[in-house]
Every structure is written in C-alpha cells, then in structure tokens.
C-alpha cells in the first residue's frame, strides 16, 4: 500500500492527520462486545426452522413433540406475527415467520426458544410442517414465463415486482444523429456480503411493556420501526441498540426474521432471547447484490463525445421486496452523474424469484450497470481509435453542474482521479503494449455521499447529534449513527474534538442506540460522514460559541479573538492559552448555560420533478478511478490481479489512514466480485453456503493496492469531506474486465470472470469467432411506456 498526494492542512490538529480509531484498543484486546458476546442472565436460545422448499404452501405445522421436549419454552409460527413489514413503505411483504406460504429455501417457518441452543436445535427437528409444494421459479426467465402460482399474490403479472421507464432529453434524435452507436449485453452475478460476524440479536421484554433489542444491525432506527409494526407496539416502547458490529456492507440494513422472532419470543416468555445465525443461514438470509442483466446502447460522435445513453436493467430480486424498488432505480441513476450526457433513457425492472431475497450491498444497485458502462466505454474507444483514458476525459461530468436526470453535482475530482491513476500506473505506456498474458484496464465511477431522501417519506432531519459537557471537562456526544467497522465513531469524535480543541480521548461517545433521542437513519448509502458529520459540526460549534461568549464576557474580549485549542481557551493570534477547558466550562455554566448543544442535518431539497426522482440525489458525489494490472494464464484461464491503483475523490480526507482502509477494503471486495464471489444456486439450493465454497480473496490473493487520495474540498461536506465507504469498489470489476481484454484480447462481459469463462472466450478466439463470453440475449421483459421528463435548465445539451 502506498498513499500520495493527500494535502495536509496545518491549521487542523486532528482533521487530516493519521489517528488511530477510537475503538481500536477494545478491538485488539478482545474487549469489544458484539451481539453474541453480550452477557444476559436467564437467557433463552432461539432457532429458526427454515423451509426446505423454494415455493410451497404451508398446510399445517405440528409443534406438539417439540413442545414436549424438556427445556423447550415456546414455539411460534407466522400466526404469531401476522402483521407484514418491509424496509420500504411500498414493499410491506415480509413476515418474521412465513404466513401461509414459503418463497425460498431458508424462508423461516417457525421459531423455537429453549434453555440452550442444543435443545432448541434438537427440538426444532421435531416440528413437523406439512407443505403443498408449488413450482419454483429459480431464474428471471422462469419467473417471467411462469403460469403457476405467482410468488406474491399481489405482485404484478409474471412475478414482476417493479418496472420503471424514464427518458430525459432527446434520446431518439441523439441515436439517429450519432456517428457511432455501440450496444452490448452484460450480466453481473449476485454476491453475498459475507460480513465475518454472523447476524445475532438478543431481545428482552420488560414487565412494564418495553422491548429492547441488541443486534448486529446497521440501521437501529429502521429495525425499531419494523419491530414496532410487526409486534404492534408503539415505536417509543421499542429500543434497538446496535452492538459492536462485525461488518455489514449492506447485509444488516433492515429488520430480519431472527430479530423479529427473537422479539416475539421474548414477549411471550418474559425472558431475554438470543437468536444467532449460522453461516449457512446468513447465506440464505442474504439481502446481497442483485444478479443483474444489463443492456447498454451508447451514441457518440466520431471524436468520442457521448450524445446519448440507453440503459436497460433486469434485477433478479429473489423472494421479497427488501430495498428492491430502490435497487431498481439505482441501477439507472448514476451514469449521468459520472459522464456528461445530453440524452438519457433508463428502463429497469425487478423480478421476484424463489431465491433468498436480494437487497443492498456496497454500491447498492450501481456496480452492475457500472460494470457494463465502463466496459462499453472501452469498446467504444477502440471502435473510434481512442484510448480508454481519452474517451473518459472527453465526457466528464462538470463540477457544479446539473445532470439531464436532475442530479446536482457539486465538487468533482474525477479528472484528477483519472489523471492520477493513469499517471501512477503508467497506464498509457502499458495499455496495448504489454506482452500477451499481461494487461491493464481502466475504469471510473461515482457514488453518493448519502441518499438525499429518507427511506420513508418525512420532513425530519436525517440525523441528530447531542453534545453535553460538564464541569470536569468531559464532553459527551450522542448520535444514533452506527459504526459497522467503517469508523463512524472515530469520525464523530474527531469532528467534535477538532471544533472544541480537545483530544480524542476527551470525547465520550454514545452511539447506535434508539434510546438516545438522537435519530440517525443508519449506516447505508455512505451517508454517515457527510450527514452525521454536519450535525456534529453544528452541535460542536454551538457549544464552542456558548463557551467563548461566556469567557469573552468575563475577560472583556471579543469572541472572535478567542479560540479553543489544546484543551484551552486561547487568543487566536498568539495562540496563547488564557483559560483551561474545564475552567471555561465552569464559567459558562455559572453564567446560566446548561452546557448542552445539538445539531441536526437534513440534505437540501434535491429531488427532481418526477416519480422515482428520490433515488439518486445526494448532497455530494464521490468519484473514483482505478487501474488494474492482471496476468492471465491462457492455459488455465486464471486471472491474477497483480497490482491495483485506485484514486478516490472523497473530499477532504478526515483521517487518511481510515480513508485508505476503506479504499483497500473496497478494492478487495471489488476484486472478489470481479473474479471469485458468486451467490449461485443448484436447483433451489445455494451452490455452496459456506465460507470455503463461497470463494473470497485471501491475504495471498490480494495484490498491492496503491491508494491515491484526491482531496476536493466539498463546500457542503463536514470540513469538505465526502464518502469513501462504497465508491472505491465500483470501478474495480470493469477495470479487471478491461485488463483481461488488454492481456489476451477476449471480452468477458459477465461477472465473476471465472477461468471457465475466460477459456470459453479464448477458445472462440482460437476458432476465429468473436472472442467474447457473455450474455447473448436479454430477458423478455415488457417495460412500461416511457415517462418523458423535461431536463432541468442548465443540463448538458447536444
């Protein structure tokens, strides 16, 4: 790993400096408590009985024998959880336990609570379920042509969950006038998050009717809402605490059956109930990357200027809605925020299948079209005799611009990202010039710094930070935001410490708990640094103002001459200390203040004037560019990534070590998806629901990753920061595909790029056929009539 170019701002004492994370010591000494580590007296253990059928009606459930086993306390089924819930208001299609029907192998049917896990496991095997097995749809094609029972009774025809068709600008005219049109089909395989911690939750119901759930969740607030609905409790009587979380990546962003079932069992038994998933259950619970069919058509001038783009997607959604409607919109939202497009058409659809439900995974709905678009750009460049760098530089979205689909772009470091990454890797000297078997590939991308609209419609802040201080100098910071390993607690402490001139150890954090009266929507859509960060700044600045005013009054100094620095109130110019922080707090409190301040953040109104405009807008976009160097063995089809350069514009790097950690982790996960990882099925069964069969890169597989920080100073970001948690994954898979082409001249238009696919393409190449492996047809889907949306004033013109 190497890092270059990050600018240091000497005025900051914490921001921009390499600092260890605030939770580092508990984590390296084994003292961090994850959900399964929490001690409870009188605990019951719950297990979920899961369906062995992909699609079946439940005729009867007999739990008599299970209940007769000593140590078994309760057995519940769908009848105990009749109220449906779902993360999106439009998709309230889940129950904690199946009601009437199961829709995938692994769909929970019953839950059992017992004195220990072994008893629960044993007795679970004694529950007898009588199923009426139905025809299962395991692929999009099967689902679209199914004539039997639809997967959801109230679903649209042919198991279609969601359809969208939007047009911005004069698309037909652009294609008619185009000097060159390039069209291709792509397929992006689904993948699981495989967070190393398997989900676990403990529920407790107090005699006075309050429910508490400790859980490995990224979104305590949304779980609180879902539990309240599913259990028919007032939201204020449901408390959700995210324990320390062993990785999320999107897999823990909504209420899941084990949480709902544990809660119901706690209510029934009056005892704390724990439910933890096995690795196999995590694979079946899923909510991971949608397998996606992508069809792209681009119109360009001879010089490579893009004049129009048409994106069509079909998402294989699995059995439930989850975030799927949002995923569908995301599959078409971001191309115009990366490249200047005067005309854009997007048609997308999500189809239910009898597989574990898909949902959000790092990059949510955007890596799949990104893969296609970045490969298509390479092909287009070759058609036109351009290099991959030139065609991208020619089409960059402009800073401070508005896109044809009504997205507002503020800071944009994409040009710098591309130039830096090409420079550092020597891309232009290597591309088309390396010996056969070696190649380099380039790709670019963008991502949101938080969704500008909440998941359920409301006009409330997206996050709240409360700061309290006391006479000892202690600063207590509360926010519902959830550290899933990405370092949000450290970001929160750093921002407050910077403003108040304190050290990180002086900041006491209380986070990830819905009882803090400081709702944060959760760790998803890369929103936390930007949104929680802005709220934290507002709160800290407010407290600083109170303290400096009180000190100024006392010492007859104007406030603007005072600063907080190194645990002191100091004179701005000389930086000479005049009062200690605790003394200043005491003075402030004695003057009648309560030493508390709050800050909130809500994004500006950014949604365009059309249905679906809520997905895509963000207060700021991050940008990434990537070069991957690969070695391809033409005998075995093995693709070995040997070096990666990734430049990322995440605004100001609040802590370069943490930013690089996110980039390295994103590159890792991107390489995993590009080359190895796939949630695939044999019949109705997961092909390998274990950490061994589901291949992920190990320390031996990971190449050197060069992190290049491109620090724009976003005017709305906290100290200029934007996101880094998700963006760096996005350009990696297409850069790998482009590098494979550079190495051996074959196109694998499908992810993961496994050896068999490379060999098939090489075989075609040897036989003089088109040297490509990839989809040859697109699912037979009927998109709705286009909704034609007038582009905003100032959008790119032809």
């Amino acid at each position: 790993m190497s890092s270059t170019g990050s600018t240091r701002t000497p005025d900051f004492t914490i921001i921009g400096h390499r600092r260890s994370k605030v939770d580092a010591w508990p984590k390296v000494t084994g003292r961090a408590n994850y959900a399964d580590d929490l001690p409870f007296a009188h605990l019951l253990y719950a297990r979920l009985l899961r369906s062995p059928h992909a699609h079946a009606r439940i005729r009867a459930i007999d739990a008599t024998r299970a209940l007769a086993v000593p140590g078994v306390t309760a057995v519940i089924s769908g009848a105990d959880l009749p109220v449906p819930y779902g993360i999106l208001p439009v998709s309230q299609d889940e129950h904690g336990l199946a009601v009437d029907k199961v829709r995938f192998v692994g769909d929970p049917v019953a839950a059992i609570a017992a004195e220990d896990e072994e008893t629960a496991d044993h007795a679970m095997g004694l529950i007898v379920v009588d199923y009426d097995v139905l025809t299962a749809c395991m692929t999009v094609d099967e689902a679209l042509s199914a004539t039997g029972d639809p997967i959801h009774a109230n679903g649209k025809a042919n198991n279609v969950h969601k359809r969208v068709a939007l047009e911005f600008g004069a698309v037909e005219a652009a294609f008619e006038a185009a000097a060159h049109v390039r069209e291709d089909l792509f397929f992006y395989g689904g993948s699981n998050h495989l967070a190393l911690e398997e989900h676990a939750a403990v529920a407790e119901y107090s005699p006075d009717g309050r429910l508490t759930l400790w859980s490995s969740t990224q979104t305590p607030h949304y779980v609180q809402r879902a539990l309240a609905k599913a259990l028919q409790l007032p939201e204020r009587r449901v408390r959700v605490v995210a324990s320390v979380i062993g990785g999320g990546f999107g897999g823990k962003t909504e209420a899941l059956p084990h949480e709902v079932a544990a809660a119901r069992l706690a209510m029934i038994t009056g005892r704390p109930v724990k439910c933890r998933l096995s690795r196999e259950e995590v694979f079946y619970s899923h909510r991971g990357r949608h397998p996606m069919h992508v069809q792209l058509r681009a119109a360009a001038r001879v010089d490579g200027t893009l004049t129009g783009l048409h994106v069509r997607t079909v998402l294989d959604g699995g059995a439930y809605g989850s975030y799927g409607v949002a995923s569908t919109y995301y599959s078409g939202a971001l191309p115009p925020a990366t490249y200047r497009l005067p005309a854009y058409r997007f048609e997308g659809a999500r189809v239910f299948t009898n597989k574990p439900p898909c949902g959000p995974k790092r990059g949510h709905g955007t890596p799949q079209p990104r893969f296609g678009l970045e490969v298509l750009l390479d092909k287009l460049a070759e058609d036109l005799g351009l290099d991959p760098l030139a065609i991208r530089l020619k089409n960059l979205v402009a800073e401070d611009s508005v896109t044809v689909n009504h997205l507002r772009v503020t800071s944009c470091g994409l040009r710098a990202c591309l130039e830096r990454v090409a420079d550092a890797s020597g891309f232009l000297d290597k591309h088309r010039r390396l010996p056969r078997g070696e190649g380099v590939g380039l790709a670019a991308s963008c991502y949101l710094s938080g969704a500008a609209l909440p998941i359920y419609w409301n006009g409330l802040p997206h996050t709240t930070v409360h700061i309290q201080a006391d006479r000892t100098g202690t600063v207590h910071v509360a926010c519902g935001a959830t550290d899933i390993g990405q370092g949000s607690d450290s970001v929160l402490a750093s921002l407050v410490a910077e403003v108040l001139g304190l050290d990180l150890v002086d900041i006491q954090l209380d986070t990830a708990d819905t009882a803090l009266a400081a709702v944060d929507l959760g760790s998803y859509s890369s929103r936390v640094t930007f949104m929680m960060g802005n709220a934290a700044l507002r709160a800290a600045e407010n407290l600083r103002e109170q303290v400096l005013c009180a000190v100024g009054r006392e010492l007859h100094l104007p406030t603007h001459r005072l600063i907080l620095h190194s645990g002191q109130v100091a004179l701005r110019d000389e930086r000479s200390p005049i009062m200690s922080w605790p003394d200043a707090l005491q003075l402030t409190q004695a003057s009648g203040a309560v030493l508390a301040a709050s800050g909130t953040y809500a994004p500006p109104p950014l949604a365009g004037p059309y249905k679906g405009a809520g997905v895509g807008p963000s207060p700021a976009y991050s940008y990434s560019a990537c070069v991957v160097h690969v070695n391809v063995d033409a005998e075995t089809g093995q693709v070995v990534p040997s070096e990666v350069w990734l430049a990322h514009d995440g605004g100001r790097a609040l802590n370069p070590t943490q930013v690089e950690g996110q980039i390295e982790g994103g590159v890792y996960m991107g390489l995993g998806e590009a080359l190895w990882e796939e949630q695939s099925f044999r019949g109705p069964l997961h092909a390998g629901p274990t950490a061994l069969d589901y291949k992920t890169p190990t320390a031996l597989d990971m190449p050197i990753v060069h992190c290049l920080l491109v620090e724009t100073d976003d005017r709305e970001g906290p100290f200029g920061a934007k996101e880094v948690g998700q963006g760096p994954l996005l350009p990696v898979p297409p850069a790998v595909a482009n590098a494979v082409y550079d190495a051996v001249g074959v196109r694998v238009d499908e992810v993961p790029i496994t050896p068999d696919k490379v060999l098939r393409a090489l075989d075609r190449q040897a036989r003089g056929q088109p040297a490509r492996h990839g989809p040859r047809r697109f699912p037979d889907i009927a998109y709705p009539p286009l909704t034609v949306v007038e582009p905003p004033a100032g959008a790119p013109q032809l």
Binding site: A24, R31, E197
Partner: protein, 189 residues
C-alpha cells in the same frame, strides 16, 4: 407460557424424537496463564468452552466449520481453530486467547501495530489475526511480506483487504527487532 401451534400432520411426516445424549468429561488446562478446570460434554469445542464457559468472548466465530480463522487461539503456542478443536484435546495444555495476548497497559507489539495501522476495522477477525501473527513472529522474527500473507491466508477479513494487517504484522516484527519496549500507540502516525 407456551405458544402452541397444533395441527394434524400425516403419519408419513412423523419423526424420531429421542434426545441427544453425551458423555461428560473433566478437562484441566491453563488459559491465559490461569489454571482452569471445566466439566463439559465430550463434544464441546474449545471455542464453546472459551466463549460460553469462561466468558472469553474475544475469540469469535464466523463459520464454526474451520473456514474463516476468526476462532484462532494458541494451544501450546501453535495457532489452532477453536471451532475444530475439542475441549477434551487440550487437557493439560496451555491456551492463549486474544485477552491473554497483551493488555492495554502492556500490549503485545502486534496490538500496538494493529492500532497504529488501522488494521482492525470491524475488529471481528482481529483476535484470530493477532494470534496467528503472534505464532508466526514467535517462529520467524523477520518474515517477508509473502511469508506474512501465507501465514494469514487461513484468516479471512472482509473489511481491510489485508493491506493494513500485513503492514501491521511487519511493523510489529520491526518493533520487536528494534527492541521496542512495546510503547502505547501514539495518536499521531
């Protein structure tokens, strides 16, 4: 209180409901320097014994099938997967978990280096990584990058891409070589 669902089920679907039985054993071992005696069923794993009987929850599980390395502990100084090690097999042996590797006051150089390098993101793989690396450094004071990667190849991490972990292990090796008195990590890097 029991919530019951009862319905008629065809005889074809009836099942055997004999409960599992097991022999119980007494095991003596030393855990993090402290002699311990445990009585447990013969099939109890070391992972279960550490987490559930001794409350040493720093040892994690990510698969319980020997695939992820999160449960790695040292048995007589050698890395072992707690989930595949029967408690009975550590009779008379010395077990070290992450809680016994070092303390905040007197950390192992690896812990200092992991903190400095940001090598613990979610931290779930961290205990297993630290113990695997500790065994490596005990064996090979100056491992090459390739040797570090090979040693850690059985420990999965989903957060870091391994870069910071490999860098931290090599930094710790240099600290030991330089006779570092294992200083607490400074805030500044």
């Amino acid at each position: 209180m029991k919530s019951t669902i009862v319905a008629t089920v065809p005889p074809a679907l009836q099942v055997d409901d004999s409960a599992p039985g097991d022999r119980w054993l007494t095991v003596d071992m030393t855990v993090n320097g402290v002699p311990r005696m445990l009585r447990a069923p013969a099939h109890r794993t070391l992972l279960e014994a550490l987490r559930e009987d001794l409350g040493l929850t720093g040892t994690k599980h990510g698969c319980e099938l020997g695939e992820c390395g999160a449960c790695t502990v040292l048995v007589d100084g050698q890395p072992r997967l707690g989930c595949l090690t029967l408690l009975a097999s550590v009779e008379g042996r010395t077990v070290t978990t992450v809680e016994g590797l070092g303390t905040t006051a007197e950390p192992h150089p690896l812990q200092v280096a992991f903190v400095d390098r940001g090598a613990a993101q979610c931290g779930y793989c961290t205990g297993g990584m630290l113990l695997t690396a500790a065994a490596l450094l005990a064996d090979n004071a100056d491992p090459t990058e390739a040797e570090v990667r090979a040693a850690l190849a059985g420990n999965l991490c989903r957060c870091t891409g391994y870069a910071s972990i490999v860098a931290a292990v090599r930094q710790a090796a240099r600290m030991v070589a330089g006779g570092a008195s294992h200083p607490r990590s400074g805030a500044q890097g």
